[in-house]
Symmetry: C2
Subunit: 308 residues, 2 copies
DNA sequence: GTGAAAGCGCTAACAC
DNA sequence: GTGTTAGCGCTTTCAC
């Protein structure tokens, strides 16, 4: 029997007896697992669930599996997860950090150990690795300039937690758009809190109590914007004519709520795909230098920023 | 030095040099990986993302990691995933099947190989394993009886894909509620299609074209109900007074849309938790017989089923 | 109890 | 090329 035929025969028998290689043995011998970890705050929102979908798609194409870790946006849980991370069964890590991180040392240790890491969305700038994010600064800038163009003059901002990089960028975009258009900044009109719809509602009540009421609200994300709209509706204030509202994300809810919500779109799936591609590239060749990629966020105009 | 002290010393040094056990080696020797796979259609919706969150919570507490697989609701992709499943690095599997499955053999093979499997939500009744689901039949029954009590008489149903178990159960609940209340069944008022909002919108246009128009719509899920509401709004038909609408899920959007959407609540997180607990139990002791658990779904009355 | 050795299933290095 | 063997890092068995 020729070598060729013998090989075919072996292969045939292999499928016949349903031979499946043992991945643990292979990983042990090769020191490579074809498995990447994904750490993020939660998946029960539009943005993160779409990022994961993007990650999954490219990972799947390259025969990588993904192990999911949820921090529930708690810095302590994040540290616990990292401390117990099954590093030996991970070729790399995709991370979106929790709010209020105490330090970066837990991530630094992993990097020092040689584990490839790529941050997305909520990045940790103390760590020298690849990062992919949306253009938070320009997105915010565009949103606020849109409000100004629509004739709003007293523009408030309901922001996220102060510690997060992207919160700061959106805040800066807000401030710079005001400055460029020669509109004074009122610190009372900036409220910091969490990312939830409830936070948005509360923040809005607080704004409505200020001596000089704002005539527009730029929310750090769509969920807070929805909260703001609910608060305004409860106070019988018309969204648009009385107070304009604009969000950030382009959550499908923005098209369903009434009036429909103007917003800045985040390319969530794309972020997931690119982050995963970057990580895979780094896994293949550990020496490539870190890259930082920023994706454009288009303005989407709907009803909530129409004065009439 | 005493044995006790020596042990302490070793442990101390272990943490000092940051010793981390190799999980692949351990898995290879123990034939157990502390890793479970989760296969589901997608995570970009309220229900599945919450199920995952529940799964994650109990898995995490027991030091199990989860590997995520997304079928994108495609039967072919599901088969591919199963064929390439890294069985040797999985202690068990949690599955919600895709629509239109061709057969059950791919799951049966895994079961035959001794891999513990628990189905949730979209179960495969050809396979003898544990299953956890919501009470689809009674949930649907309650929803339709609620419509009848509110005075609606010509009740339509926009359903999901015919092949899925839970679609059939919700359909049966619909039919039985009509029968019990002596309301004739009109087959024209039952429309089958996908689960998306767009499907709900299309289905509704189709219903509006029928000779005798329905005065209420029971949608198989909230997304389709939202689609129905959008269709009705576009046709200037008042949701509630003209045509009542009720959904199934209790997606947060049901509280945000206007009018707010009556629905039947699915205990998504609970489903995830229980499914994972059941799987972990089975992993621990492979001989325990399969269990089937059904969770109650409470009716939630909101504005979309108020006639005035 | 304690310590040595075999073996989990695979890959890579080595000798032929 | 082709076939053999050592070794990945752990657990478990077995002899002491």
């Amino acid at each position: 029997m020729s070598a060729r035929k013998q090989k075919d025969k072996v292969l045939e028998v292999a499928t016949q007896i349903k031979y499946k290689p043992n991945f643990n043995a292979r990983a042990l011998a090769k020191r490579s697992t074809h498995n990447i970890g994904v750490i993020l705050p939660y998946i029960t929102n539009y943005y993160f669930s779409n990022v994961i979908t993007g990650v999954q798609e490219v990972a799947n194409n390259k025969d990588f599996n993904i192990t999911l870790f949820l921090t529930n946006d708690s810095a302590e849980k994040e540290v616990t997860i990292i401390k117990n991370l099954p590093v030996s069964s991970l070729d790399g890590l995709l991370v979106s950090v929790s709010s209020n991180p105490a330090s970066s040392s837990h991530f630094q240790e992993l990097v020092d150990d040689g584990l490839p890491i790529v941050f997305f969305d909520r990045v940790d700038n103390n760590i020298k690795t690849s990062k992919v994010m949306q253009d938070d600064y320009n997105g915010a800038f565009t949103a606020v300039e849109h409000l100004i163009k629509m004739g709003y003059k007293r523009i408030a901002h309901i922001a996220g937690p102060k510690e997060l990089e992207f919160t700061q960028k959106r805040l800066q975009g807000y401030k710079d758009a005001l400055k460029k258009n020669k509109i004074g900044l009122n610190e009372q009109w900036i409220v910091y809190s969490g990312f939830s719809q409830e936070s948005g509602e509360k923040d809005t009540y607080q704004l409505l109590k200020s001596r000089q009421k704002p005539d527009a609200i730029f929310a750090v994300n769509d969920r807070k914007a929805v909260g703001a709209m609910i608060a305004l509706k409860k106070k019988n204030i018309r969204v648009g004519p009385d107070i304009g509202v604009i969000g950030f994300t382009n959550d499908p809810i923005s098209m369903i709520i009434s009036p429909t919500l103007s917003t800045v779109a985040e390319p969530a799936i794309e972020i997931g795909k690119i982050a995963c591609e970057l990580l895979l590239k780094q896994i293949k060749k550990k020496t490539i230098p870190p890259e930082e990629i920023t994706l454009h966020c288009p303005l989407i105009v709907r009803e909530s920023t129409q004065r009439k």
